[in-house]
Symmetry: C3
């Protein structure tokens, strides 16, 4: 006799995303598109272009996953039911009289419900991506992590690329220095589900899906209610980052301090140089004489 | 006993595009490339780059269709005969002594003949794309429309993308607000042939090919002779556009007028706001206080 | 009894690139990445982004070849051993205490050895690409040349594209007017090995691999030692270029001179126009009256 917890998580893992969770995902995606500057004007002047962009927002993760696996990127168009559902949502969001849908969406409880349901679909996408990649590359764990990540959070890459081609988006180099919360939490999920798939985690898939989904929904709703951008695992992330990548900065700053000290004792003036250039300086030391201004 | 009309359209549908219609298509494509600013200089300084761009102009639709269906984009290079034919045309267009080919092409009857024959190839590409997509996705009508459209008019996407990568093209956001005539007429053809493929149109394929081709050639030649950009189906396009997408603007303008009236009666001054922001205003009404300057 | 030369080239062609030649290739690629402006700062702020860029530098040619053949671009991630090897090299190059690896690499003998070994891997990639394309398209010689070229020197296209998307690279139109030395020498190798594959060259593959590799390594090391950018086959390249593409410029300059002479005898003043516009002038002669300022 299965315990109630097991039955609950099993039933949860067998829930179909169609139609309610998919509707929530499409609604949140199209509303995000609508809030972009000029999106409404584009919808009225060229509805086909607006519809296409909305489809990229709704199905971007699956498209990216197809591109990476060499499958037809247009495959999502074969699922006519979901396409019609997403198209209907696009139509009523942009063309509803008196903008009723946007007004309804502006109420916080409605937003919380829709965003919470969208986070549930994220788990399903990650799991789908990991198992699909496993069917191609048995135990190719890096591929599984990449495809799970692409399916769960890759839509923004597709939509950013479309904006780049349209000339609406000019990427700044430092944008790539920051990963968004959805990207980080999806990468974490993809790693966890890959380890579960390769039997490195002693937990069944349906239990893991339940726990991970609860984590996603709880953190997302908390962040929305408290209007904070501090991520729940920021401490672990910083610690891991320092352990793997931070200690060389420690060496470099010690070296810089000893250089500055010897310089100070030599000339009596001080220079301030950013830590980020420390390794370049070490590299150039053997090639040219350092200039002091 | 078949009627003469049926025999004519059947014989027409069995015409091979190779070599004369293909030559016309390659000639028009390469001449369009040659008229771009700086194309001749590029041909003399880096013939390989110019040749590659010419191949994208000639085979761009097929390349895009392969990309969308997950097939090798380089597949067009396997057809050595067509590649050599297109390369020869590129060579004589750019490197003919005294530029004889360009001089010959500048005569209007020659242009009309070449452009007319190129329009014939458009029908063959649309039909090829629709049937090819149908072999992948039985009754996937959205995929069939998309592939027919890509094959018939997708070349410009490939060539624009190549120019974007080369830094020669900076897309403006409003370019995407206007669809060109080839794009519109190819989309119409793709929809029609898809409905015919899925047996929703009571007309045989060869008859439809004949009628659609005659329509394409007649409208294109008329537009060239009259030097007009007004499209023949503009009226139907505007009507359909207004029916599907225009009525919300009607609601919004009524609402804006009533807002202006109440404002006028309140303060005695007037504000003018564009219709395109009307829905954004409705959305923001519940979130922040509107400022009047 | 095989001659010693044959045995040597046969043994050479059976050498495995893993691990030493692959290590050299990854080292040279990652050091090239490190020398880009801001690469070290990116590695410290977003190690994942830096790692991804390093993987594109190391495996870019294979990724491009997969994209062109419609295979999964992520396939390189399935080879976990090579990925771990390349990742380790990235890690120690960017995060080694006191930047020891960069200091070691700055010694010329170390650079020459690494670069020489990397050139050996180029031959293996070209041959791999040509044979792989031949398995898809029997005797599709254009495809074989293209895939051999993509595998051997296509990595820069992938990395430039990634920089374009990140906003770090703005391509200038005239960059496409110059092909780099690796691109030219890889194209030459791809053509030679394709002719050998289609039995148009009376030389065995292992002998050709040995000769081509010796040519690559010798020229590359010579160019590094003499710090020259003059390519060894520049004379043949210029001659071939003039034979195929240069004689029309001769016609155009003769025509321009005769136009100038007739103009001089007519008005007594002179105009100077670049040769590159000569063909545009010929084309426009029939369409509009030329203005003289």
């Amino acid at each position: 006799m299965d315990c109630p917890w097991n039955e609950l998580s099993l039933a949860f893992s067998r829930t179909s995303m169609f139609p309610f969770f998919d509707i929530a995902h499409y609604l949140v995606s199209v509303m995000a598109l609508k809030h972009q500057p000029g999106a409404v004007a584009v919808a009225w002047k060229n509805p086909l272009s607006s519809w296409f962009t909305a489809m990229l927002h709704c199905f971007g993760g699956g498209i990216l996953s197809c591109v990476l696996l060499g499958e037809p990127p247009l495959r999502f168009l074969a699922n006519s039911t979901n396409i019609l559902l997403a198209s209907s949502i696009w139509y009523i969001v942009f063309f509803c009289p008196r903008d009723l849908v946007s007004q309804g969406y502006s109420f916080l409880p409605v937003q919380l419900l829709a965003v919470g349901m969208k986070e549930v679909t994220r788990t399903w996408k990650i799991v789908g991506g990991v198992t699909h990649a496993n069917s191609y590359y048995k135990n190719g764990w890096i591929v599984m992590i990449a495809i799970g990540w692409a399916r769960g959070a890759g839509g923004s890459i597709i939509t950013n690329f479309e904006q780049l081609v349209k000339g609406c988006w000019k990427p700044e180099a430092d944008e790539w220095l920051k990963m968004s919360y959805p990207a980080k939490v999806t990468l974490l999920g993809s790693v966890i589900f890959t380890f579960q798939q390769t039997n490195h985690l002693a937990i069944s898939r349906h239990n893991l899906m339940f726990l991970y989904t609860m984590f996603l929904v709880a953190t997302k709703i908390t962040m929305m209610l408290t209007e904070t951008s501090v991520m729940p695992f920021a401490f672990f992330e910083d610690t891991l980052s320092w352990m793997l990548f931070g200690w060389q900065q420690l060496f470099s700053s010690c070296e810089k301090r000893s250089e500055t000290n010897s310089f100070l004792s030599g000339t009596g003036s001080s220079t301030s140089k950013p830590i980020a250039d420390a390794s370049d300086k070490v590299h150039k030391k053997h090639t040219k004489k350092t200039k002091f201004t």
